[in-house]
Amino acid sequence: MGIEEAWLIPTYGFVAFGVIALFGRYLPLQGKHLSIIAIVAAFVTFWPVLFDFVSLGVGEHHVPRVWFSAGEFSVGSGMIIDPLTIVMLALVTFVASLVQIYSLGYMRHAHNGHVADDPRIGWYFAVHSLFTAAMLTLVLADNLLLLYLAWELVGLCSYLLIGFWWERKSAVNASKKAFITTRVGDVGLLIGILILVTETGTFDISTIIHHVTAGDVSDGKTTLAAFLIFLGAMGKSAQFPLHVWLPDAMEGPTPVSALIHAATMVTAGVFLVARLLPIYEVAESAQMFVAVIGIITALMGATLALVVTDLKRMLAYSTMSHLGFMMLTLGAGGYTAAAFHLLMHGLSKAMLFLSAGSIMHSMHDETDMNKMGGLRHRMPITGAAFTIGALSLSGIAPLAAFWSKDEMLVAIKDGLNPIFVVLFLVAVVLSALYMARATYLVFFGPLKSENRAVHESPLLMSLPLVVLAVLSVFAGFIVLPLGGDYEGIGRFLFHGEHGHDFEIQPLWTIVSIVLATGSFALGIWLYKSSRSTVDTIRVQFSGVHRILVNRYYMDTMYQWIVDRVVLALGRAVALFDRTVVNDRGVNGAGLTVLGAGKRLRGHVTGLFADYGLAMGAGVTAIALYVWLRGA
């Protein structure tokens, strides 16, 4: 069992989906355990693949397979196994396993006094399995067609899961919004892919990269393709301006948010850009665009997270902000740092979401942070986990995300203009601030009287929290050379000629530690001791506050565009279709025939004389003609 069999990893999920979707009615418990088995099997299968990979040497391994071919052109369905793939496989299988186990506990609601599974739990797990299968396929795919297929499938699962409780109108709207917004990006992705394919004649990723870096494709086309592909990444990874769907996606069940909208699906965009990074390095303007969008998104997400009162939405904006960081880093050429942060953020953010779910589960789906407070007294495990996660993502040493943030800082300063560094640090400060705010509002301070009945979650839910908490503390150390063949993340996960060794750059490290810790402390202090300052700030900057609360008016703008532009265009087209195509063309043709028929019928008068005349005239004419010709 080795990398040759890596295709098994997604297959378990597809099989589970098929079985549960088709036969769930007849299975015990609607077949939810089948899904758990599938994902755990995937996780288990990952390890032999990892070992085989390590033994073969760190690098890029291909397991090609032909899917279909037409003459000279063939499309594959093989796999690429390289460090990036390994990292993604690990993240997806691990977090998905934890989330599904967590879901077993979360998706039980109180009905009439006793607790029972959600009525459609089978479907929930089926789509979960499908999602993980699709995501794993996306990560393993060695050609753009398969990748695009998996990409779309992942989007579909997101739509299905966001709208899982379709009895709620808001959920239905949110799922539609998510799908449509990402669809806009997907169009760009498709066109970009097609440009590359027509230029290089193949869908195979490595071949395409090879051609592009060798200069076989013109600069203009490469840049265009890179832009368009990034458009798809913008949609999936909620970059500005296609970010509007992510906060609304919180309508879905919280485990879904944890898995899809923190750790896996939204990272697909980052993964794609990382996978195709050589192309972006050739198309420099596209890469700069990536960086600019990244920092804008990061700042936007951070500012928005600072004013929301809904816990899950805060986490959504935080995710958006961190994805912006990753894109910014990729824009700077920091392949290693971006992927590393993807991993760390995924672990910590998933845990934060699961904690939020914990709270919601025992507070009857309450998400308003102002209604919480002091919950650590009642939910110690959740409280500890959340705090660890918050600290980690704020960049407090020596937790996981601190290391990755540090790496990102180094990459940005090395690769981009100093202005980006400054803005990055501003965003770091903001992220610490909003994390501190949230942590304090929810878990610290006085416990409200109405929340006295709040209790800790059952084991099925707390256990994944604990596991992730532990990892959030220690996972960051993989950046260091840990002995044996492993020489640090920089030597494992790199692209280009060679990786880099881990080194501490004292000045920058100190700057980041000071900024992060200071900001976090400031946040705690503001909300703990000096609430009035917070209120004063809100009043002073009320204009800014209002803009933020209205999400920079982006939703209003999009709605306007849809109403005025899209629907108006649609109405015009419909009008054209009705009057020109239908009335003139289709009906018109029929009516013309009818009219002609009516008119032609006129000569069938039924009168003998008319017929006789016609015949006589005809015969005479023919005779004349014959006679003239003959004579």
Partner: protein, 104 residues
């Protein structure tokens, strides 16, 4: 100048065309019938003329055919008038302009 076949041919043609005009232009069914008789007679003239001016053994054919033509013409007139009578009883008119059941 003596009588030639072509003279009879022209005469027959004239008679035939007069009859044709009558068939096509007259309104009363009986008038149409009479014009048809004219046409038939024109044909008869032609046949007899050919039979007379062509001294061959098949001379007899022309006259025999004319006998049959006259016979059939007589039969046809009888039937046609019966139909016209029937029509008159039904419609009160023999005006061909008003007999347009096959219209449309």
């Amino acid at each position: 100048m003596s009588l030639e076949l072509v003279d009879f041919q022209i005469l027959a043609a004239a008679l035939f065309c007069l009859g044709l005009y009558g068939v096509l232009a007259r309104r009363s069914a009986v008038m149409v019938l009479m014009a048809v008789e004219l046409m038939l007679n024109a044909v008869n003239i032609n046949l007899i003329a050919f039979s007379a001016f062509r001294p061959v053994s098949s001379m007899i054919t022309g006259q025999v055919i004319v006998i049959f033509v006259i016979t059939v013409a007589a039969a046809e007139v009888g039937l046609a008038l019966a139909v016209i009578m029937r029509l008159y009883r039904r419609r009160g008119t023999v005006n061909v302009d008003e007999i347009d059941l096959m219209k449309g």
